[in-house]
């Protein structure tokens, strides 16, 4: 059997500031099989983003094992497509140049990088904006561009940190459907952070519910809705029941 795309075992994080220390994450166990869409949901400040940073290789874990493709030894930077909450597009680069940022860092020849970026924009309906600057785009568009930049850098394994958190409800819904399309196209393995219970249900195969700080896994929920998913499935009885269950659980944590 292939190793899981991501395996997290007993990972903790404690920040030290002089004498004081802050426990951000209690030991976390988590796994994503290849091609799986897994979400983490939890109250603010529960260490979700910290876990992401550690998986992306930009922060060190205080203890525990993180393995991508069964490899726990090598540096993890560059092995995932990491997308932070803000789109962080570079204002002096055109949309196309923004999308190809990751290829520039890998020293891909410019012609080839441009072509790949353009193909991707075309495939996902954004080719008209290729030569525009980010300042001319709406928030939802910028978020999609940032997602394509992430995908062009690494489409096997995506780490998405609340990518649609700042969008209005309708733009968010269309972006979610768009993301599902993209995920199916690449058979990507996805780890997705969100605050939004309905978003987690619509997108995920499995949901990890985190507790308030120090973050630990409260519950693991499998989402049994058939694929391909449609927003209308959120109105099904089983979805509504799951939503209520998760909201109740999270509200209890929020108070604590």
């Amino acid at each position: 059997m292939d190793p899981p795309k991501l395996l997290v075992q007993g990972v903790t994080k404690t920040y030290r500031d002089g004498r004081r220390s802050l426990e951000a994450l209690a030991p976390i166990d988590l796994a994503i099989a290849t091609g799986e869409f897994v979400s983490i949901i939890g109250p603010s400040g529960c260490g979700k983003s910290t876990l992401f940073n550690m998986i992306a290789g930009v922060e060190k874990a205080s203890s525990g094992v993180i393995a991508i493709d069964g490899n726990a030894e090598e540096a993890r930077a560059g092995k995932s497509g990491y997308m932070p909450q803000q789109p962080l597009l570079l204002p002096w680069r055109t949309i196309e140049e923004n999308v190809m940022l990751g290829l520039d860092i890998r020293h891909t020849p410019r012609k080839q990088a441009q072509q790949e970026a353009y193909e991707l924009l075309k495939r996902f309906g954004l080719a008209d904006f290729a030569q525009d600057y980010p300042a001319t785009l709406s928030g939802g568009m910028r978020q999609r561009i940032a997602l394509l930049r992430t995908v062009l850098f690494n489409h096997d394994f995506l780490l998405l940190d609340e990518p649609f958190g700042a969008l209005d409800a309708l733009t968010r819904l269309s972006s979610q459907v768009w993301l599902l399309d993209l995920w199916q196209e690449y058979h990507a393995s996805v780890l997705f952070i969100t605050h939004d219970v309905r978003e987690a249900i619509l997108l995920s195969d499995r949901i990890y519910v985190f507790s308030a700080r120090p973050g630990r896994v409260l519950r693991i929920v499998e989402v049994d809705l058939p694929r391909p998913r449609q927003p209308v499935q959120l109105a099904w009885a089983q979805s509504i029941q799951l939503e209520q269950e998760l909201v109740t659980l999270l509200l209890k944590e929020q108070k604590a």
Partner: protein, 257 residues
Amino acid sequence: MKLRGIAGFGPAFVLAVGLLAFWELYVRSSQISPAVLPTPTGIVQALIDNWDVISVHTLQTLLETVLGMAAATLLGLLLAALLDISSWTRRAIYPLLVTSQTIPMIALAPLLLIWFGFDLGPKVLVVTLYCFFPIAVACADGLASADPELMKLLRSMRASRWQALWLVRLPGAMPSFFSGLRIAATYSVTGAIFGEYVGGFQGLGIYMETAANSHVIVLVFAAILVTAVLSLLLFGLVSLIERIALPWYHSTARRIG
């Protein structure tokens, strides 16, 4: 720019014309001799009449200014790079840099004359010393202001230090760099004139001094007028280069503004 940009200068233009008209009428209607306080029209007339002499001095000052600005830009960028190497170099260099600006130029300029003579060199040096500081500080601050989240994203992509500098931090620092350059441009002409004033053979500073010593006040004003126009032109030139070099910045600023 275009029409809307020009219209933006409307209020300043109206105010300037109003003040000049007041000045003109005041001198004409009062008992003040034009030899003591010339009228604006008299100044322009004197400038036209003496242009053959003034233009030679103007060219000299312009040459010193441009050379000094070029040297200041190089020095400013070099210092910004040094400040940026590590927090250690920043802590070491920054206080010295600020202290250097507390040395009064009026004390330093005569020394430069003694050390380097009466030629072009010391004047260019005075301009450089006036102008490098805003460039260095603005550029260093621009480099340091890169979004930490963006740096994190680059690290997740395994970008090297150089790639982070070249792809993100340097382009991101360009607007700050041009702000520093604009401030430097406004100082530069005055710096050159000050350098000449202390000692030299040619330039607007010398011309002003000679005119003042011979009590031809209208020519002092004519030289001041040329100085102001020269400074504004340099400022405009820097802004123009910025517009051409950073098209994205101005399209963004328009949208926000």
